[in-house]
Chain length 310, copies 2
C-alpha cells in the first residue's frame, strides 16, 4: 500500500514532513527567471521553465532528507499547459530521486469523470495499445463532497498501482468551518462525518502500519479538531497543511501523530520555498536555505513528538 | 456580468443547453485517431491532437445553434499536459466562434491557492510585465467545501473580467446524497446550506436578468431538489448536468427554469458527442449527428418550458 512506502521513507529519514512546491514566479530568483525568458521569451513557456528549474534545485538539495514533495496543481495551471508540463516534469524528477509525490489537486467529480482524474494523476491511459502514465504521482488530494461515487474509482487504481489519496476533512483556512463545522442532526460535524467516510473507504486499502490508503487532510491551524480526528479516525493517515506561513506550529501539529510518531505528514510550502528571506540570505541561495529550513522544521517537530518508531 | 452574456446568447438562440466536451479517445473516429497517430506517434501528443480535432469538428457544427460548451478538465488531464494544451486550444476555438465557455474543473482550495486557480482559468497572469491568459474560460465550476475563502478570490476576478462561477450544490451522481442530503441541526440539508451560501456570495455580482455571477450545479437526476432549489435560490443561475446519458429528461430538467424559461442551462455530454451511435450513423458522421442531437435536445426542452423570454 502506497502509504506504507511513504511511512518507510518517513521512518528511515526520521522526518514526517513534506515540502510543498507551490512556485509562484515571484519566488524564483531573477537570475533563473531572466535566463529562462532569454531562452523562451516572456511567455508561459519561459515562466514554466523557470518554475521547473527552481523546483529541481530545491529537490536536489532536500531529496536525501525529506521523504516527499507536494506540488500544488493550481500554481502550475496558473502558467497554462506549459505550467502543467512543468508539474509533470517536477513529479518525474522527484520520483527519480526516490521522493514520494503527492499531487495536491483536490480533484472531485462524478464516477465516470473521476475515473479520468484517477487515470490522469495516479494511473495510466491507453493510447493505441500503449500504456502511458500522464502524471504519475504517488498520491492525490481529493474533495469528497460528491460522496462515494467520486472516491470509488480511485480506490481500484490505488490497489492496482500502489497509490493513495488524501480526502479533505478539516481544511486549514479561516473559513473552513462555514460548512465543515456545522453540526448534523446525527450529532456529528460535517468534517467528522467526512472523517468517518474516510475510515470506511480505507477498509478497502489496509496498510501494514495500521494506516489505510485513504488519508485525510486536517489542518494544523485547528489543533483541537486535529486531536479529535486522530482519535476518531485511527486508521487514517493525515496530511497536515497550515504549519509555518499559515500560523500552525509543532505544538499544534503534534496532535496529528500517534504514540509512535506515525500517522501524519506535515506540509510546509512557502516556509521552504522562501526560506532565504527569513534567513537573511540572497535569493540565489534559495535552495540551500530550503534545505536549512527543512532540517529546522524536522527538528522542530521531532523535538515535540520524539523518535519515529515502526 | 458574465451570465448576462450567457443569457443573451440563450435567448437569441432560443436554446438553454450547453454541449459538454468530455472527449475520451474512444469517442474519436478511427480516421481522425489514425491520422493523428501517424503524424505524432502513439503518444499523448497524438491523442491530444485527435481530441482537439474532434472538438473543433463538433464546435463547427453547433456554434450557430448552441450558446455554450462545457469542457470537463478531467478528460484533458487524462492525456497529460498535452491533453491540457488541447483544453486551452478548445477553449480558444469556441470563444473565437462566439460560444460561452464553462470549464468544468470543480476547483477548490484555500484563499491564496484559489487565487492561482482563478488566474489560471478566468484571469490573467503577469509574465515579466506581459499579461497572459492561461486558459481564458468565461466560467469555472467550483467546489466550496472550504467555505468563503475558496470562493472570494474568484469573485474579484469575476467582477473585473466579466466572468462567472458555478458552485456544486446538489450533484447528479447516485451517491451525491451521502453528504449533501444530510440534515444539519439548523434544519437545512447540506446542499440547501450551500445554495444559501451561493445566494449570499452572488450579492456581490448582480446581473441584469436577476441572476448573479455565482451559479450553482444542481443535477437533473434530482428533480425534487431542483424544484426546491429554484425556489430557495432565486438569484442563482443553474448549470444542470444529468440530462440524457445519466437518466434525466426534459420533465426533470424543467424545474430548473423560472416562468420566463430563464435561470438554467442544461448540459449534455455523451448524448452530443456519441450521438452517431443512437442515430445509427457511421462514426465519421459524429459532427452532423451532434448537431442533430443538439437540435433534438433543444426542442425537447423548449417543448416543456416554452419560449424563452427576457
Amino acid at each position: 500500500m502506497a502509504f506504507d512506502r511513504l511511512i518507510k521513507n518517513i521512518i528511515e529519514k526520521q522526518n514526517p514532513t513534506v515540502a510543498g512546491l507551490d512556485p509562484k514566479l515571484d519566488y524564483v530568483p531573477a537570475s533563473i527567471r531572466n535566463a529562462c525568458f532569454e531562452k523562451y521569451g516572456k511567455t508561459l513557456e519561459g515562466a514554466a521553465a523557470a518554475l521547473l528549474e527552481f523546483n529541481k534545485a530545491i529537490i536536489d538539495k532536500i531529496f536525501d532528507i525529506v521523504p516527499a514533495i507536494k506540488p500544488q496543481a493550481a500554481y502550475y495551471e496558473m502558467y497554462g499547459w506549459q505550467g502543467v508540463r512543468a508539474l509533470a516534469e517536477t513529479i518525474a524528477y522527484a520520483r527519480e530521486k526516490g521522493m514520494f509525490v503527492i499531487t495536491d489537486g483536490k480533484r472531485n467529480d462524478i464516477g465516470t469523470t473521476m475515473e479520468a482524474y484517477a487515470a490522469a494523476h495516479l494511473g495510466a491511459v491507453d493510447v493505441a495499445g500503449e500504456s502511458v502514465e500522464p502524471f504519475g504521482a504517488d498520491a492525490l488530494t481529493v474533495n469528497a463532497y460528491l460522496g462515494t461515487d467520486g472516491v470509488a474509482p480511485l480506490l481500484g487504481i490505488c490497489r492496482e498501482r500502489d497509490k493513495g489519496i488524501f480526502v479533505l476533512v478539516k481544511t486549514s483556512n479561516p473559513s473552513s468551518g462555514e460548512l465543515q463545522d456545522l453540526k448534523l442532526q446525527n450529532g456529528k460535524t460535517v468534517y467528522e462525518q467526512m472523517g468517518e467516510m474516510c475510515e470506511s473507504w480505507g477498509e478497502q486499502l489496509p496498510g501494514e502500519y495500521g494506516y489505510s490508503g485513504v488519508g485525510a487532510v486536517v489542518g494544523a491551524t485547528y489543533p483541537d479538531q486535529l486531536k479529535e480526528m486522530r482519535e476518531k479516525a485511527p486508521h487514517t493517515f493525515f496530511l497536515v497543511p497550515g504549519y509555518g506561513a499559515q500560523g500552525g506550529g509543532a505544538n499544534d501539529a503534534k496532535f496529528a501523530f500517534d504514540k509512535n510518531g506515525l500517522g501524519a505528514i506535515i506540509n510546509s510550502s512557502r516556509g521552504i520555498m522562501c526560506a532565504w528571506k527569513k534567513q537573511g540570505l540572497s535569493e540565489d541561495d534559495f535552495a540551500d536555505a530550503a534545505r536549512a529550513e527543512a532540517i529546522r522544521m524536522k527538528e522542530d517537530i521531532l523535538s515535540v513528538i520524539g523518535e519515529i518508531k515502526a
